[in-house]
Point group: C2
Chain length 338, copies 2
Amino acid sequence: MKITIKEIAKEAGVSIATVSMILNNKDKNITHATRVRVLDAVKKYNYVPNAMAGSLVTQKTHIVGLILPDITNPFFPGIARGAEDKANESGYSIIFCNTDDKLEVEEKYIETLTKKMADGIIIAHSSGSEKMSEILERCKVPIILIDRDFYSEKVCGKVLVNNLEGAYKGVSYLINKGYTKIAFLSGSLKTRTARDRLDGYKKALSDNGLEYDEKLVKYGEYKIEWGKDGVNELLSETRQFDSIFCGNDLIAIGAIKELKKNGYSIPGDVGVMGFDDIYLAGLVEPSLTTVRQPNYKMGYQAMELLLETLNDPDKKNNNFKEMEIITLDTEIIERNSI
Amino acid sequence: MKITIKEIAKEAGVSIATVSMILNNKDKNITHATRVRVLDAVKKYNYVPNAMAGSLVTQKTHIVGLILPDITNPFFPGIARGAEDKANESGYSIIFCNTDDKLEVEEKYIETLTKKMADGIIIAHSSGSEKMSEILERCKVPIILIDRDFYSEKVCGKVLVNNLEGAYKGVSYLINKGYTKIAFLSGSLKTRTARDRLDGYKKALSDNGLEYDEKLVKYGEYKIEWGKDGVNELLSETRQFDSIFCGNDLIAIGAIKELKKNGYSIPGDVGVMGFDDIYLAGLVEPSLTTVRQPNYKMGYQAMELLLETLNDPDKKNNNFKEMEIITLDTEIIERNSI
DNA sequence: ATAATTTAGTTAAACGTTTAAGTAGGTATT
DNA sequence: AATACCTACTTAAACGTTTAACTAAATTAT
């Protein structure tokens, strides 16, 4: 037989209200004897309260959604882990979702999470389309944006990385090391991160008196394959370069592979710099000098921000006037590709 | 105002039962006109049913727990993704949990999942201790074991990898390539996987007329550091070896790094073989020949098995007499470290 | 001694669904 | 013409909690 609060109440000879109060630490006015009787009954029957039933009345599930493009992409496990750790510390659980950066999947997940009454959502969304705006607007629970920025009144917080400054630092580092012909294998300009990093790249060049040469900048996907293809594009053109700043580590790894294949030594002939500092970065040959994003911290802080919002009574009524934006700084990790 | 099924019923001029039936496709006996009225009301108010409330009566949340040691370990994201994909296809959501292989954390998560009324649980558990047995026994929902075996009556299914055969295949491959002095950097014998792989290693040797030399076998952790340390142990002893079979890819990567550091060329001087085929394996230098575990498939099939159990009326009453065990085969991935 | 307050509970409504059982009118069957 | 069976719904109970409002007894204050 399934045992509920009723059985416990009967066993202990009290009302279910008393049991509920004791189990929720609202038991100032309960005698020690009663408490012991109830707790004994709980143990005897190995009773575990049904949180869903409680949620129905409290309107809180202590479940939050975490929507990411793909946990299989080495960039995301750190974020997931950070978010999960914080959630767990605070008694929350995470429902996690992979979207493959597809808008319709994001939409579906947000609806599912709404149905299942998630208390809030953290999302690394795909795009800044009009549709995205609508979807966010329609969502009834607090939303935190992570990693990818997007303007929306509805959003109640953001945890971002200072991509412009990261790229600026990275390229400045290259310049300090004496490189002057710095190519850039960027991700797609459709992404905000790529645009910001491009701006950082340009700014670093101009602040250091170097000229921006659009022939040295190529756009592709944040993947190893693009690193290879990008290098080939660069090599097939006449333009000289002594180093490559890459949109992320995967591109950098692909670039290194292809450069080596073509007989170039790294960093001897060409310096290569990555972005992200994924787990791989320290293990490839040569190990990758890169701009680290504080992955774990990003996840952790996003969850922290969400939980603050959930527990702040002022914000209860979707009254998110003062959206909080946390911008985390990057850090240069010096290894052997420069 | 929060809108519920009542508002929809009122708007459409029907009872809430009718709305519920229409929304759950139990609407054989509903006229087209009524259906349209209801659906219009749903759209007008942008109504999303509260799944928790439904769960209370159906006793199904369509939520399952996925308990893994650490999503940050490159071995696990594939499993998580496979499980999530299958769950998503079938209208289920995953709550995911990282245990760092700590028994007390596993216990806590299982309780949380029970409270939140997960319909079932998939777990890659830490150990085969007595305590684990108790914990599983106490858990009221179907449990699937993944990756790590453990005997328990309570468990209703397992998805495992044939580690013995995997190691056998791997070592046989080495032998076929002409290696005869094959060292083994194993994981800890506390883990079942390590014991199985050791058995496979021994069997491959004896089946091929090679002698088992315990001096060539070293035990450590499934980590890069152990790969380095293990190589140093091997080198510091007089015993000769022409190749190393490694307990997993991380060990292999560490081993390769350390061998190169000591001036050995791979695979020229020493062949190195891994186990797992994590994402990294194809990217290190030289790329790693390894025994692939079908990660994604493991997660996918574990979820498949769980959902079958959940939807099989015979198994409803915890009547899991015929536990299903799926053993997946490994596959040699030929790269350049052999 | 009486009133006011505190203590230690209980009662009952509420949360938002699903679903078994009921019903009224219409159609088909004998 | 009476009976059975559909059709298209409605009614009301149930799921397992939480919590506001109530109460009876004990204690304290006046």
